[in-house]
Structure formats: C-alpha cells, structure tokens
C-alpha cells in the first residue's frame, strides 16, 4: 500500500496549483492523473483569463459582471474573494513563465469577452490554457512530489466520516492500488462526455465527481450545464469566445445578424447561455442553415482581415482548416452550441472544503459557487488557479493535524471485487454501447431547452442504462493499457452524474442561467434562489437545498 499525506487527483491547472500549494506547505504530496499532466484538458482552454487590471476597469465591475452572469445564483462572498485574487494570480503565472500576448507598451494584452463590462480577458493568442499549463508544470516540476501517471481513480475511501485515501487503477501494470492519505483533493475536471455533442476531451468523464458523490459528498447545482454557443459543426471542437471578442459576428441562413433581436446592446458578446439559446431558436424556427450534420449558423471572421485572424486566432484557423476543411479568412464557420462546462460540481467553500472531513475539491470538478447558473468566459482558468492554491493549502493544513489513516492492505480486495468481476463475465453489456446510449439520451433530453416530459423520459432511459451497467462486461483481459476496463470505469462514473443532472433539472421548475425550462420560462427568485444539493442514496440522488450568499447585489432582471 502506498502512503502520502496529501493526494491530489487530477493534474490540470487546478490539481497542479493545489499540488504546488501543498508541497510549499511542506507536506508529502502525490499527484494522481489518468493522463500526463501536460495532456490535461486545461490545455484546451483557448480564450483567456479574467483580471480587472486595466486602468478603466475595476474589481467591483468584475464582481458585478460575474454575479449578473451567474443569474444571481453565484455566492457573492466567494465571487468577491475570487475577483480580488485575479490580479495577483495573473502576476504569479507571469512570473512562473507564462508567455502572454502583449500590447505595444509591453503590458499584458486584453480582449473583450461575453458578459464583461470591459476588455479584461488576458490571453496568450488563442491557446491561453496551454500557455498556463506549460508554465505551471514547469514551475511545479522543480518541486519534490510523487506523480502517479496514467492511473484512474476508482474510489475515495471514507471511514469514520473521514477521508482515508483512494483506490486507483494503474494502466501500466493493470493493478488496483490503495494510496493512503490524510487529505484528498479532487481536481479531475468536468464530466462533459456525459453528452455526445461536447467541446470536452474524451477524458472528461467526471471520475472525481462520481467518487466524491459515492463517498458522501454533496454535488451542488449539477443541473446547470453550459452549452458553448460556437462549437464546430460535426466534431464539436470549440471555437473560442475570443473569436467574437475580436469582432466575429453570427449570421443566420438569410445573412441576418440575428443577435440584434436577442441582445440588442452587446450582440454576440452577450452571456453564453443567451447566445446559445439564440442559435438554437434560429435553427428550430427554420432560420438556420442545414446540412448532413444538422442545423447550424455562421460565425463570420472574414471582415477582420487575414492578418488579425491568423495572428490572434491562430489555433482557430488550424481547427477550421484541418478539422472542417474551411478557411475562416475567406469563409464563414459553421457552428452550433455544444456542451462545454459544468457550473455544478462537488460542493465546497472557498477553501475547497467539502462536507466530508479531509475531502477537498477544486476547479471544474468543484462548485464553490462562483459561476452560479452560468459561467462567464475567462473565469474558469482563473478559478482553477485561485481556488487551486486555496484548496491545496487547506488540504495541507488539515493533513498536518489529522489522525493517521486506517486504510489497510486487506481493504483492497473487497473494494475492487466488483470491477474485477467485469472481466470474468462470459456475457454482458459492452461499455461503449452503454456510453453511446447515455450520450444520445442526454443530448436529446437534457440539452439547452428542457421540459418536464423530456427530463422524465431522459431519467427513465438513464436508469435503464444504469441497470444494464450492473451487467457490464470487459472482454479485454490484458494487464497493459486495458482501455476496455477503463471505459467501463468511466461509464459507471458518468451514469451516476447523468442521473443527478436530470433529477436536479426536473426538480428546478424555473429558468435561470443555463437551465431553461420551456414549461417554466421565468426566473423564480422566491422559490428557487437556492443551491441544489444532491446526496447519493441507495434509491438515487436525494435532493436538498442551501441558501445563496449575498453581499451587495440584489437580483435584477438580466438584460444584455
């Protein structure tokens, strides 16, 4: 059995920043990831990181924009802390070596982003996530810690109401292993692959969310799923909001700039939920374009000129040319909304603490909540770093005073017996078939526009798939890189989370932020100004609710 003081699961920006904080606090730290840290999905973030550092901008404006963007479901005390930390966080990342884009005077360049009062999104061309990930990994690698690379989390072990460690599957040796730990930080990112049409990487399967949920942690606000307005048709690859920030415009089939009808003041730079609904409405009402991959609209960059498009949106040019066979310098980009981000996650406070002693969560896997019902572009990279530092520090502090873990080598056998049984079945369900059915169900029944009937039908179907998962069969018996087995682990995790999303969305009879109920089109502050908390029981998710924290901003109607 392996033993460390602090175990961090996930090595994207949130996990790495947490690891750095915990190492700097002097603890024995292990980082567990199912990828190489530099292959984490943080690296796919394109547009930028928000910090109100411009002379005309202010932290208060950033706070207000975030509160408004959240449709007043974000906790205002957390948002205030978050926005205040933005400036120092960006400075720190620059000092770590991040190569940001610069303005002619040598300061950090900034661009406009949706829902923001000022251009406050600091960027590195259109690969900001990659730039930050490289710099943070370069910095973290100078410290001493243990890296368990290409290991899949299968369980967070909780006993005596306290974290004892984790169980993970080593892809290289084909073995399950226990890692005893006093504190565990979940930094495993999102579960976007619950959906078929998603901008997320294949690895975004919510392993940490599902294991935390299984260990007794609350999942908070899971029904709030962000759909990015501009995913490339067919592949679902993200086309950054920066494309619109640089001046890109959206047009329907008749060449109309339709955002004039949905957000007359800020047009394409309205909040993501607003723009996504506009696109879906255009297509549903017959004003979109259509092709073999369904309805879509056009994102036009042609008027910006070759020089600007190719320098500021270099990766986007590559994506369009290589993946869609079109040139954004001379042709419109076919786009349609795709699942992009989960505002919900493991419920935490600003220190990453969950309701389980010793269990912490951070980044997209967590819900603090600063994004509320809808996240603003540029706020998630910031979130990973601000709260990564907090959670890593808090987990290190807890580990210092926590009693010794009671995890025992004999615990491994019974804990992993069900997973090992998957391989001994002679017949059963194929994990990738179950995954496809789950994705189709979620795309169809838990998308941008939701109704009671759809959500009930979606829930019924997911529960059928969940029941079939009980008989999942792994046909690959290899000890080395057995993806058939890791597929099954991931599908099992995602099915739990799909159910929580559906149950939460069904219960919430209002429309707020990214959660749009056709049958309840208005925001209902009297009944629903509250966070959803889901706890796992034998019968499925048990819902309770928690109040939203207010400081200075009263709810107003959200107009862009």
């Amino acid at each position: 059995m392996l033993r460390h003081e602090v175990v961090i699961v996930g090595a994207g920006l949130a996990g790495q920043r947490a690891a750095l904080a915990a190492v700097q606090a002097g603890r024995d730290v292990a980082v567990v990831t199912k990828l190489h840290p530099l292959r984490s999905h943080s690296g796919a973030a394109q547009g930028g990181i928000n910090a109100a550092v411009g002379a005309e901008d202010s932290v208060d404006t950033h706070i207000y924009d975030t509160v408004k963007g959240s449709d007043y479901l974000g906790d205002q005390d957390a948002i205030e802390f978050f926005c205040r930390e933005a400036g120092p966080t960006v400075v720190e990342m620059e000092h770590f070596g991040t190569i940001f884009s610069r303005s002619p005077d040598g300061a950090l360049a900034r661009r406009a982003f949706g829902g923001a009062g000022f251009p406050r999104t600091i960027y590195a061309a259109d690969r900001t996530g990659l730039a930050l990930l490289q710099a943070l990994w370069e910095r973290l690698s100078t410290e001493r810690f243990t890296l368990y690379q290409e290991w899949d989390l299968t369980q967070v072990v909780v006993r005596d109401r306290r974290v004892q460690g984790i169980i993970a599957y080593d892809r290289h040796r084909g073995e399950f292993e226990e890692i005893a730990a006093k504190s565990v930080v979940i930094a495993t990112g999102p579960a976007g692959r619950i959906y078929g049409r998603t901008t997320n990487a294949h690895s975004c399967t919510g392993d940490g969310l599902a294991c935390a949920y299984d260990a007794g942690a609350y999942l908070k606000d899971m029904e709030f799923v962000q759909f990015h307005p501009t995913a490339l048709l067919e592949s679902g690859i993200l086309i950054t909001e920066g494309a619109r920030g640089e001046g890109g415009i959206l047009k329907n089939a008749s060449g109309e700039r339709f955002m004039t009808r949905y957000a007359p003041h800020v047009l394409e730079l309205a909040s993501r939920d607003v723009v996504s609904r506009a696109i879906v409405t255009e297509v549903a009402e017959g004003r979109g374009l259509s092709g073999p991959y369904g309805g879509y609209v056009h994102l036009e960059l042609m008027h910006l000129g070759k020089e600007k498009v190719e320098s500021r949106l270099q990766e986007i040019c590559d994506y369009c040319r290589r993946f869609a066979g079109i040139d954004p310098v001379s042709e419109p980009i076919p786009v349609y909304p795709g699942q992009h981000y989960m505002m919900g996650g493991v419920g935490t406070n600003i220190h990453g603490e969950t309701n389980v002693a010793g269990l912490y969560a951070v980044g997209e896997a967590a819900c603090v909540s600063i994004h509320g019902a809808n996240r603003l572009g540029g706020n998630s990279l910031l979130e990973t770093l601000v709260f990564g530092k907090e959670a890593g520090g808090a987990a290190a502090k807890y580990a210092l005073s926590a009693p010794a873990t009671t995890l025992h080598a004999t615990d491994l056998e019974p804990a992993t017996a069900p997973m090992r049984a998957w391989s001994s079945r002679t017949e059963g369900e194929d994990p990738s078939t179950l995954r496809d059915e789950m994705q189709q169900t979620m795309d169809r029944y838990a998308g941008i526009y939701r109704t009671e009937a759809d959500l009930l039908e979606g829930l019924r179907r997911i529960q059928v798939v969940k029941a079939r998962f009980e008989r999942v069969r792994v046909v690959d018996h290899s000890k080395v890189f057995n993806l058939n087995l890791t597929d099954a682990i991931e599908v099992g995790h995602m099915l739990e989370l799909a159910e929580v999303i559906l149950v939460g969305a069904y219960a919430r009879t209002e429309s707020r932020g990214a959660h749009s109920r056709v049958d309840f089109p208005k925001r209902d502050d009297v009944r629903w100004m509250k966070h959803t908390l889901a706890q796992k029981t034998r019968e499925g998710p048990n819902l309770s609710y928690a109040p939203v924290a207010y400081t200075r901003w009263d709810p107003k109607e959200r107009v862009y």
Binding site: P104, Y319, R322, L483
Partner: protein, 324 residues
C-alpha cells in the same frame, strides 16, 4: 460536407506483452466519410469491432498531444490526419506506434526516453538573482520580444518530432527536436537568467548531434519548426562560446573552407573539427575513404568565382550583426 462514404482498410500494429504472441498487424475495414480523422476511425474500431485495441487519445483537437502515431509511416496526430487522403495516396491506412520509444502495447509507447530528454534541458525559468521579478506586477515584454519565441509556445509535447528524428535513433544521447525547441524557448525569454549557461551545457552530447534533416519540422503538427530553432541555437551557441565543440568547429571550419577557396577541403576540415591529435583517430577511416575514392583528397586550389563567394559570406555576416 458530403456524407458519401468510402470503404477504408486499416492495418493496425498489435502487440500485447501479456499474451505471448509476437507483434503483428491486424486488418479492419470500415465504411466512413473521407473526412473522418484516423482517431475517429480507431475509436470506431474499438467500439464496433475490437474493444481490445489500445491507444492514447484525449482532446481530439490537436491540443493535448496524446495521439501521435505512425500513419502510413509518417509521425502524425491521429486526430487531425484524415482517412480519405491516406486511402488515395496509399490504398490503405497502416497505423503503427511512434518510433524511438519502446512499445508498451499496440499503439501505446513508453515515453520515458522523450520526457528524460525534456527534463535534461531544465525546462523552467531560472532567475538571475541580480534581476528578480518585479514585486507585485508583471514584467514588461514587448510584442517584438514575444515574437522571438517564434512558434515554440505552440508545442504540445506530442513527440511526433522525437519519433521522426534519425539523430535520436542513431544516438540516444541526442536531446531530440522537442527538447531543443523548448531550450530555445528559455534562451530567448527575457525573464530567464541562465541563457549563457544553457547554451554552454547543451553542446556536449547535445545540440551538435542534429543531422539537419528537417524531418522534425515536417512531422510537427503545430508548425513549431524545431529544426529552424536548432539552427538558431547553434548560431547562439557559437556566439556565446566560440567554436569549442567538434560540432561547432566543423560548422565554422566548413564555412572557412568555402570562404578560403570556394571548395571543401576534407583533410583540413577533419583537422579543424577534431584538432591535430583528434585527427589521428580518423586516420583509418580516412585511408578507407581514400582507397575507395581517392579524388576526395584533392590538392587545395581555388575555384573560379571564389572571391564572389567570400563577398557573399561577408555580406551575410554584416547583415547578421546589423540590428534587426
């Protein structure tokens, strides 16, 4: 965006150390649109035909660097290599693991050799204690200074260049294109305080082992152009330390030969590269060459127009020294 499909044949390298069978190729056939990426096809093979096929993949948009492999003998990212053109050119799609790294299973390789070389260049900012970071604020860096990084910040560490590199294959001591492109990134970073030290330390068993074949630049999916950055590093290394390595002496000697008489003098070049004593070590090799091709050891003379060549070099040198 035509939905018309083609029938594509995939010959995929298979190897599983735990089942005792030697490596072999397995054939799969899929109906798909020509625009389908090879990665999508491999994932369809896994889902529809054979769940035991193993590979690395994640983002499917050429940003995570997981799915580098050999597609019809070229090091490529499977996610951005389309099946149609491969079928047109080769009649089938042969998929194999990357080269220069031991195969763990099927298309999955052990990347330790690649990461060891990455670590060797000490890939992190090293501050000069005399120039600490400005307290509480970012450093200033002009867009021109950012341009000096060239395309190196785009590197996704996919190792396609490492796989394609014949110098890595010939000598495992060679850091490989990615590590050197990464080194370049630090050597041009105005925040880094160890430029000189980095340039000195990369020379023994390092920089000069590059064969200048440019296969790395051809293989790179992000247009990082490692071979061009290696060329830049060589220039900077000579500027920093003079020609003190066999490799740098060879380069400088080569140029001096041409400036002298417009012709390569192999005897002289060997002495310039290895020194008079070192030259003795090359005697057996030299005799062998002389027996086969005596004309290489020619009497030194000037070619016609040698002065013109010298003037071109002179102009190039002046140009290089001029501020840009």
């Amino acid at each position: 965006m035509s939905p018309e499909t083609i029938s594509a044949q995939f010959d995929v390298y298979r190897y599983d150390p735990s089942d005792g069978t030697p490596p072999h190729y397995q054939r799969y056939t899929l109906e798909l649109t020509p625009h389908t990426p090879v990665l999508t096809a491999l994932l369809r093979i896994r889902a529809e035909l054979d769940p035991t096929l193993s590979l690395r993949y994640s983002c499917r948009s050429a940003i995570c660097g997981s799915c580098a492999m050999q597609v019809n003998s070229k090091s490529r990212l499977a996610c951005e290599t389309h099946v149609g053109p491969e079928m047109e050119r080769h009649g089938r799609v042969v998929v194999e693991p990357m080269r220069n790294q031991p195969v763990l299973r099927d298309l999955v390789v052990d990347q330790a050799p690649f990461w060891t070389q990455y670590d060797r260049i000490e890939p992190h900012l090293k501050l000069d204690p005399a120039h600490p970071m400005p307290e509480g604020k970012t450093t200033m860096m002009t867009p021109e200074q950012v341009d000096r990084f060239k395309e190196t910040p785009r590197c996704i560490a996919c190792a396609a260049c490492f796989s394609a590199c014949p110098a890595v294959e010939a000598d495992p001591a060679f850091p490989g294109p990615m590590a050197l492109a990464k080194l370049y990134r630090f050597v041009v970073d105005p925040r880094d305080g160890a430029h000189q030290d980095r340039l000195v330390r990369i020379q023994p068993n390092g920089l000069w082992l590059c064969l200048r074949c440019h296969l790395c630049t051809e293989a790179c999916p992000k247009d990082v152009r490692p071979s061009e950055r290696i060329r830049d590093l060589k220039e900077m290394a000579i500027a920093a330390q003079g020609a003190t390595e066999n490799g740098s002496r060879h380069v400088v000697g080569f140029k001096d030969n041409i400036v002298d008489g417009g012709l390569l003098n192999e005897m002289k070049l060997v002495r310039q590269t290895y020194g008079t004593f070192g030259m003795l070590g090359q005697v057996v090799q030299g005799l062998r060459i002389w027996r086969k091709k005596p004309e290489v050891i020619h009497k030194p003379h000037k070619i016609q127009g040698a002065e013109e060549l010298a003037r071109i070099y002179d102009a190039l040198d002046t140009d290089a020294e001029a501020p840009k």
